[in-house]
Symmetry: C2
Subunit: 254 residues, 2 copies
């Protein structure tokens, strides 16, 4: 397959290298990724500044293109200008899980979503750890999984959000197909004072309030590899149908 | 009502002032908005840098808080630290329509989505023009609309994406409740050479390929005020259900 690899941790991130090493053994792999970390940029795109492309070589590893933009920019520029059409777009392996509400903020997931928007099947892959990460199992899992992916009962172009626990591989309980949790995050705004007596805030969100077992948040915590097919249709159809019914009764005078 | 006003064009944007002028006649309005334009930032949040708050006064107009962050940051910081709970969050009036695929990239819409995530009803408002904009009708429309909003058959917290044509108000055909178009955009990457012989790209997307009349893209073009209820559940349930059925048959050896 011709695979486009991107991420939001930047072109020098270990998770991207790990995937490249595994996938390039059997596929033609192109890398187009942000020149530096662009975490939590969501589905941002760069329209106020020009985008620049730098070729990057990393010793024996790979040759790729670094972009001064967001993950979504990378996918667009790759498809339209640098690489052309591909069989599959993979975003990751992200340092840190992307489950629940965090999907909205995730650059990793947005890159995969962008691929689907452009008509290409895609997966976003994240590992549930921030420190001392061993990407070996996750990368190998994806290497095997992509061989099966087109035999899954999915309409093209699919977009799968995959999260992998960072535990001893023997303790992984299996694969679970689950919905995205939409439960609130417990968020913190930490108010501090700088050396010039000025207030500043760090924001963080560490805890999910989800209780439903059949969600990405809980299944991942329980030791499953979670897979959630995602879409980009933001219409709330249940509300839309209710609104359409009252349409003729809504008289707003202005 | 206690209303939080934000946007992605920045705290000095005309569209925000126009809304403030109308809404503050009848409501208690708080402004927390980006210190400068943050268009197309999607649902980005700021986690790598501290957030700072600056009080802004604009002559006779208003006093608000400017944040060195994204629209989603503004809503979070407002609710958690600066303003507290509110009855309604309004994001806009954005310069330029936010319909179709652009909802994914829009900071204006993401601010409203963030409010819904946090449990507050919200609307995103955009006007379909980029130059020589008269915000008067749009602001007045919203001023009237918010009086009716809690009588609409919507579950709380709702999130409505509203787009207003920039035409003679007498020519506006009415209000249409429509779905978000998910049709592709026609995109351009304009390759140029700078003064140092280096390549750079401008990206732009001007045209929607949508044909379905019952979408935000087409209804707006036809002269309707469009209203689309939106959600933030990215699960593709139709695919999820298919995947759940094959679950027991999926044997991946690794």
């Amino acid at each position: 397959m011709k695979i486009l690899l991107t991420n939001d941790d930047g072109i020098y991130a270990e998770g991207l290298c790990a995937l490249y090493e595994v996938l390039s053994l059997e596929h033609q792999v192109y890398i187009v990724a942000p020149e530096s970390e662009r975490s939590a940029v969501g589905h941002a795109i760069t329209i106020e500044q020009p985008l620049r492309v730098t070729k990057v070589r990393r010793g024996k590893y790979f040759c790729g293109y670094a972009i001064n933009g967001t993950p979504a920019d990378c996918v667009k520029l790759a498809i339209y200008e640098l690489v052309g059409s591909v069989d599959l777009v993979i975003s990751g392996i992200n340092r840190g899980a992307n489950v629940g509400i965090n999907l909205l903020y995730s650059g990793t997931v947005s890159a995969a979503t962008e691929a689907k928007i452009l008509g290409y099947p895609s997966i976003a892959v994240s590992i549930d750890a921030y420190k001392d990460i061993d990407y070996c199992f996750a990368a190998n899992f994806i290497g095997v999984f992509v061989k099966y992916i087109f035999s899954l009962p999915l309409d093209l172009p699919f977009c799968l959000n995959i999260n992998i626990p960072h535990i001893n591989p023997h303790k992984i309980k299996g694969i679970k197909f689950v919905r995205q949790s939409t439960a609130k995050l417990k968020e913190i705004f930490d108010r501090r004072i700088d050396l010039h007596d000025r207030i500043y805030y760090w924001q963080g969100a560490e805890e999910h309030t989800e209780k439903d077992l059949d969600t990405d948040v809980i299944a991942l915590k329980e030791g499953y590899i979670t897979i959630t097919p995602i879409h980009f249709d933001l219409t709330n159809y249940s509300s839309l149908n209710k609104l359409k019914q009252i349409k003729n009764k809504l008289v707003i005078e202005f």
